[in-house]
Symmetry: C2
DNA sequence: CTTTTGAGTAAGTCATGACTTACCGTAAGC
DNA sequence: GCTTACGGTAAGTCATGACTTACTCAAAAG
């Protein structure tokens, strides 16, 4: 029923504007923590914390490269999100057409 | 550039589990405030407040019906969300294929 | 016109979470 | 072996926001 509970970390991760900026930046190219922090109005530790949240939500993955850690988008979660959206869309359309039928029946 | 700023109210609205439950319920059928509150573990005023957030985000609309107010999903915002998702998806794919090309070049 | 039903608003509480600075660990470079 | 670069972690602050109860308002019913 409410199997959207699994999406909880995903939605709450994407809710924060800074975090969504990080995510959108990673969609363009895998990037190191320091490089991300340079272009954002927050400190490097803040970026680290955001990346942890995104990582826990399964939205990004890490790869070690020397002393750097390169973060990248995890496409699978994006796909999950689209599935949820499609379900909402389908449900809404069904509800609309059922309402239309009732109107017809009058 | 960071035109995702417009999505801020949408994502933060969907971040709350209770609010997402309300939204998913509305996707199945337009519903009154009281009917929503009955099936949720929170008070009716809480539902009212959630509906205000969803409404401000453009995710739902209201229709008056006697003393009741019937809330329904606003499909347009759903479509906007999908557009954002598709862009993320496209960006990520491009980034991946570019990375692959660089690997080839080695 | 009063009563009842349905719902938004006010005000206050309490938890969460987005930051900061300070510190600690680890991999490369000399 | 030190030192430097890069990042994660700890601890504390401050704002936001998800609730609650109490109230106010509006529409229909009697």
């Amino acid at each position: 029923m409410t199997y959207s509970k699994a999406f909880d970390p995903v939605f709450s991760a994407l809710a924060d504007p800074t975090r969504r900026a990080v995510f959108e930046r990673l969609a363009l190219a895998p990037t190191s923590v320091g490089a991300l922090a340079e272009t954002l109005p927050v400190s490097r530790p803040a970026v680290s914390q955001h990346l942890k949240v995104l990582s826990d939500a399964g939205l990004v993955s890490v790869r070690q490269d020397g002393t750097r850690r390169i973060y990248a988008i995890e496409a699978e979660r994006l796909h999950d999100l689209r599935t949820w959206l499609d379900r909402m869309w389908g449900d809404a359309l069904t509800a609309f057409s059922e309402a239309a039928e009732k109107d017809q029946a009058k």
